[in-house]
Amino acid sequence: MSELTFTPVIGIEIHIRLKTDTKIFCACSTDTDAPANTNICPVCMGLPGSLPRLNHNVVEKGMLAGMALHCTVQPRSLFFRKSYFYPDLPKGHQISQCDLPVVADGYIEVHDAEGKLKKIRVNHLHLEEDAAAMHHSASDGRLEGASTSYVDYNRAGMPLGEIVSEPDISSSAEAVEYAMNLQRRVRYAGASDADLDKGMMRFDANVSLKCSDGRWGRKVEVKNMNSFRALERAIEFEIKRQKKILQSGGEVLQETRHWNDAKGVTTASRVKEFYRKFIVEPDLPPLIVNQEWIDRVTAMMPEMPDVRANRYVHDMGLTQEAADILTDDKNTADYFEACVKAGANPVRAANWVRTEVLRVLNEMQKKISEFSIKPEVLAEIVRRVDDRKLSTTQAKEVFDYMCANDSGLDDAVKKLGITEGGVAGNALVEIIANVIKANPDVLAEIQSGKDTKGKKFKFLQGLVMKESKGQAKPQEVVEALTAALKQ
């Protein structure tokens, strides 16, 4: 009997918080740092008599996110009521577009096991409201054993886009690449900050296995993944779990399971699955998006990271690796392009950004938008190196000095004692000291007065000039070397 093989069939649902100032159906702020239950009103608290009012910007951000995933905007979409009883849901139902979404039919590319590009189809993105945040602990910070839960309605009514993929994903690695790619693209589009730490991006996965003997396992919905790592681990766990069941001839139950990140397992949800009944939301007429609006949003769409990286490789001569690193974050890519626009050589600017700039930002835990050295200034540094006004070593010293002291370029050059076009001051003294140190016998000869013809002096002078890569002025070298030898 031949060994059974299993092919995972995975679909992912990703919720992203759309980037707006107000909630989806009311004028409450979306500020995530606000104290609990301060951004609330009759609408998002589900008070009797209140009615939803759709936020224009939520629709627009949904369109942007959808376009970033190659989706098509639907001219007419609808809202529904999705019922379930839970204290995080003020109206006892969630207003969601479910089946008639604002954008549909897109894809995201990932690399398969052989490294080939593969399209994961995006079924649609629909708009919906978030539920309130629940804290299952005492408000005084006590954790376990609390007999109560605490509800913060600030999150109720926050605008979400739910992005539903087709079951085209075959591994946890593809799933993570899909999710990371999606995150990058919606960030590029300005549709969402998709900050995982702030719960702005959450994952659910549908996992089933196709067995080589023709059996198909039932679809299991795994919920509660809040990081890429959790997504990866949960899918891997679930594949392993289902494989074991199928191998032993068992049957995988269609169910909802929860990912327990601390224990690294999925557990069957003990709550009976909610009846999914939808009725049309009678308080919101159909959402109509006309061509003029679609055109306007299309014009707002920035170049996507893959297109941008391609351009860097083909037009600027960057390596694919460098291009990928630079385009990972839109602001980094924008910074790089501003450098190039300000006259820096693309390849050298790319090296500077991906090594020095990203290193410093990482050390300082800062975003590139907060970086003190403007791209035009970095371009100037790159240019000075090209013009041999600064050595590479000097340029890096200058750069570090500017980062550490928040100073301007010329200021830093002056402070470091670098004169226009050369190695001078302390830098020169240092080189001389090193040269002398490396040649004790020559030093001894000179100091004993044997170098009457000055040959040995010339020898040291030549070494210093070489060390300074020709950037020191001969007159200064003579003076400084003479002074050093007298010590």
Partner: protein
């Protein structure tokens, strides 16, 4: 003549002309309420402890008292929808319709009785007990806006607001002998109206003259961005025009309704009214509404309950209303709150609505009903190609005695056939007074309906009918 007997137009004019003060009018109305309320029981909450000060002394309702159906939210004033589940809920905001009245200077005498969550047509299905018909206190005032109709009929206030989901303004107006207007869906903001069937609900006024209805409609019919189903482009003109005419208007009877039996006083009223219309130059014609007459009742209840059960999902005791403090878990808390808080009729409708929208039945019932509704709306559009208005009864019979409700609940639904198609198609409907039945002395009302946005034309026709059929008198309110 007492001040409480004045209609809205007269009361407002008297105050403006300084013939009497708002306080005098208020005191007169309060005295009237004090003398009748024991018998009628229209109020759930009275707010007339001290004379309220008008917010706008120059508004068209400056100093005129009014009452609101208790499903309209009033900031800081108890609002119950006649349900135990809302307990002593004080909304933190005003319904837009009330805000508009307030800003026009109206003062609030209180919140009045209704069937729980507007589910019912007797005003007897209230957690606060039944309201009595001021024309005969042994009889029902109709519902669900029974308190609003009774208050105007008994002379508590010259006008009031109610809501109409399937006849809840028109039927009690007819039972109590006042005028009641159900505006075109989308004409009046629903913001702050506690929803029953959101796509059917509409707020409207009660008054003792058509001119008063026109006054109230002129204030209510304003665009409100808070209600997404409210129409922006419509600017109806409700100016009272004595010269309005119905000459040449085609007024139709519904062919299929002619087979249904009507109580004699209502059949007589139909004949009398047709004559008045003809005498004023209108042409009586006939239209056919086969789908409406056969399927409207089923369609209406399917949709009303489907929407209602989701509108009632929010009552869980966490944020407002009746609650329990000793539940062991959240499920127990919700179950105890909802089981105690909702009345039996509401529970039945919640269960029916839940049942109809479950995945296994959703297409067969809920989705089918939304399609039947399309057919009904189309049928009315066709009919209004052949006529300007439709004349029909509000109910087939006069108000019954309190406690004599039909054993068969579904039969009660059939009596709604004349009112609820209007809500399904979003049409305006006027319930107007035609006179008193000789035998019972009860008022007899009929209904005029028109195409969407014909509200002001209907009221013009109503004015001509009022001129020839007479205006209703203030009911004795059980007081000799």
């Amino acid at each position: 003549m007492e001040l409480y007997e004045l209609d809205l137009y007269e009361a407002s004019k008297g105050i403006k002309d300084k013939k009497f003060s708002p306080k005098e009018l208020f005191e007169s109305c309060k005295k009237r309420i004090d003398s009748c309320e024991d018998k009628i029981h229209a109020f759930i909450t009275r707010t007339d402890g001290t004379a309220p000060v008008t917010e706008n002394p120059n508004g068209i309702f400056a100093g005129v008292p009014t009452v609101l159906k208790d499903n309209l939210c009033t900031n800081g004033i108890r609002t119950t929808a006649a349900s135990k589940i809302l307990g002593n809920w004080k909304p933190p905001y005003d319904a837009t319709a009330w805000k508009y009245l307030r800003e026009a200077g109206a003062v609030l005498m209180g919140k009045v009785n209704m069937d729980e969550f507007a589910m019912g047509n007797t005003c007897g299905n209230s957690a606060f007990g039944p309201t009595h018909n001021p024309n005969d206190i042994s009889r029902v005032p109709g519902g669900s806006s029974g308190g609003s109709a009774a208050a105007v009929s008994a002379g508590y206030v010259p006008f009031s607001l109610g809501s109409d989901t399937g006849g809840s303004i028109r039927q009690p107006a007819s039972y109590c002998g006042v005028y009641g207007m159900k505006p075109t869906y989308g004409m009046v903001s629903r913001y702050g109206l506690i929803s029953y069937g959101s796509s059917l609900d509409q707020i409207g006024p009660f008054a003792r003259t058509i001119r008063d209805l026109q006054l109230v409609m002129s204030v209510l019919a304003q665009y409100d961005p808070m209600d997404s189903s409210c129409f922006r482009e419509k600017n109806p003109d409700f100016t009272h025009n004595e010269d309005a005419s119905i000459k040449g208007k085609r007024i139709a009877l519904v062919k299929e309704f002619q087979n249904f039996t009507l109580d004699a006083p209502i059949a007589e009223a139909m004949k009398k009214t047709q004559k008045v219309l003809e005498n004023n130059g209108a042409v009586i014609t006939e239209v056919s509404l086969p789908v409406v007459s056969k399927y409207a009742v089923a369609c209406y209840y399917a949709l009303a309950m489907s929407e209602a059960h989701t509108n009632l999902e929010r009552y869980d005791g966490v944020r407002y209303g009746y609650t329990v403090n000793d539940a062991a878990g959240i499920k127990e808390m919700f179950e105890r709150v909802r089981s105690y808080g909702f009345g039996s009729e509401v529970k039945s409708r919640i269960i029916a609505g839940t049942c109809l929208t479950e995945p296994s039945r959703c297409d067969e019932y809920y989705v089918a009903a939304t399609k039947v509704r399309t057919l009904i709306a189309q049928e009315f559009i066709r009919a209004f190609g052949e006529c300007d208005f439709i004349l029909q009864p509000v109910t087939p019979s006069l108000p019954h005695k309190i406690g004599e409700e039909d054993e068969d609940a579904m039969k009660g639904y059939e009596t709604d056939l004349y009112t609820l198609p209007v809500n399904l198609a979003g049409l305006p409907g006027l319930s107007f007074f035609t006179g008193y039945d000789d035998a019972t002395k009860l008022p007899v009302g009929l209904q005029l309906i028109g195409p969407r946005w014909s509200d002001s034309e209907i009221l013009n026709a109503g004015m001509i009918l009022e001129r020839h059929l007479g205006s209703p008198k203030i009911a004795n309110g059980g007081v000799k």
